[in-house]
């Protein structure tokens, strides 16, 4: 039964991927992209990788979906037809070669991992020293903390890049308001978002807390938080902050700064990013909570887009 389930799932994943590429209407393609993210989440669940499934469902199906839909709406408002135009055969051939090469490289990389790889066992023997039980969190926050630290700064850099394309007069104003223009829809989504935002706060806090022992963590929690913020912004329950709001900026840098600060503190103990004995779990959980807040705010602002002049905010900001 399990095998049949997995086979059907694989076929559906390939089907949705093909459909999202072949669909003529851009919104249809987005619909299949969201479905693709959801099904990929199920595939990770079926493989027993719940950490990855949580991230895929939250980011791939949730926040990226909203990003694509809003991008489509803004492009349409600018008069861009958003539909695919015929491309030259050379372009198609180049894309096919590049994508095919990437697939071959990835396949080689995946197949080069030996089935008798001892990495899992090695990590399992090191985990008791950290006082947490989720090996993924252990790898992300301790054994490969350097990677995670850099990733958090990359995310911050992406937001700086989005802010950098603010039009003249836009800096340092608010992003274009996301609030729905139709009064009836605004009331419905507004009421719904006032229920959803507290629920997403609880869920985000829970995911970060449970992430030290069970699947979860800062990235998953932060994405759920970003989802709640975005629905609240769509429903007009909250206004998006100005880019020079000091409270906003403190939240944005809190996670990376705390991670870096604790990492630098490790130098006093002998090594960058090492935790003092006995305090590992407390510090890891503290870093995770700070990161979740920063990631949530950053992702929500990345979706909201560049700051625009105040007049444009009232017009819908396109």
């Amino acid at each position: 039964m399990s095998l049949v389930f997995d086979l059907v799932l694989c076929l559906m994943i390939l089907g949705t991927a093909a459909a999202s590429l072949l669909m003529r209407s851009a919104l249809g393609g987005i619909v299949f992209f969201i479905a693709f993210g959801n099904l990929l989440g199920i595939a990770w669940l079926s493989l027993g990788a719940v950490n990855v499934a949580l991230a895929e469902i939250a980011i791939g199906a949730g926040v990226t979906g909203i990003l694509l839909i809003l991008a489509h709406a803004r492009l349409s408002a600018m008069g861009d037809p958003v539909e695919c135009e015929p491309t030259s055969p050379w372009m198609r051939a180049a894309v096919a070669v590049i994508c095919g090469g990437l697939i071959v490289l990835l396949s080689v990389a995946v197949l080069s991992i030996s089935p008798t790889d001892r990495m899992g066992a090695q990590i399992a023997t090191l985990m008791p020293a950290l006082g947490i039980e989720n090996p993924v969190t252990g790898v992300l926050l301790a054994f490969r903390a350097y990677d995670t630290l850099l990733e958090t700064f990359v995310l911050l850099g992406a937001l700086v890049a989005v802010w950098a394309i603010a039009p003249p007069g836009g800096w340092p104003q608010r992003p274009a308001s996301l609030a729905i223009a139709t009064p009836v829809s605004l009331t419905v989504i507004g009421t719904f978002s006032r229920v959803l935002l507290p629920a997403s706060l609880v869920m985000a806090a829970y995911l970060v807390w449970t992430g030290s022992d069970l699947p979860g963590g800062a990235f998953q929690g932060g994405t759920v938080l970003a989802g709640g913020i975005l629905v609240a912004a769509l429903g007009g329950a909250i206004a998006l902050p100005r880019a020079d709001d000091m409270r906003l900026r403190s939240v944005l840098v809190l996670g990376p700064a705390m991670f870096l600060g604790i990492g630098l503190g490790g130098i006093a103990l002998g090594r960058f990013l090492s935790y003092p004995v006995g305090l590992e779990k407390a510090l890891i959980v503290a870093i995770e909570y700070a990161l979740a807040l920063s990631i949530g705010a950053t992702l929500a602002l990345l979706v909201a887009g560049k700051p625009v002049p105040p007049a444009a905010v009232q017009e819908g900001g396109d």
Binding site: V4, V31, L39, A61, I66, A73, L178, M203
Partner: protein
Amino acid sequence: MTGLFYAAAMALLVTVALALVRAWKGPGTIDRIMAAQLVGTGVIGVALTLGAARGDATMLDAALVATLLAALAVAAFVASRAPRGARKDGEDRS
């Protein structure tokens, strides 16, 4: 019992496939978005039954996350379809 849960997961996966057919055929954009919502709901069901079949309670967290974020797409879609110039100030874009 495990076999029963797998059968349920399988059946729900088939309903997801049917929703995908609706998303492909459309014909309207609203039909496609509603089909996407149906896919989301089906996926939550698959996650729940798969968690029960595997005896893995953490899969319920994945179902919860999917539930929380399922409404995002439809909210964004409604926002993107709002008529221009329908703001409170009644300002007309020309």
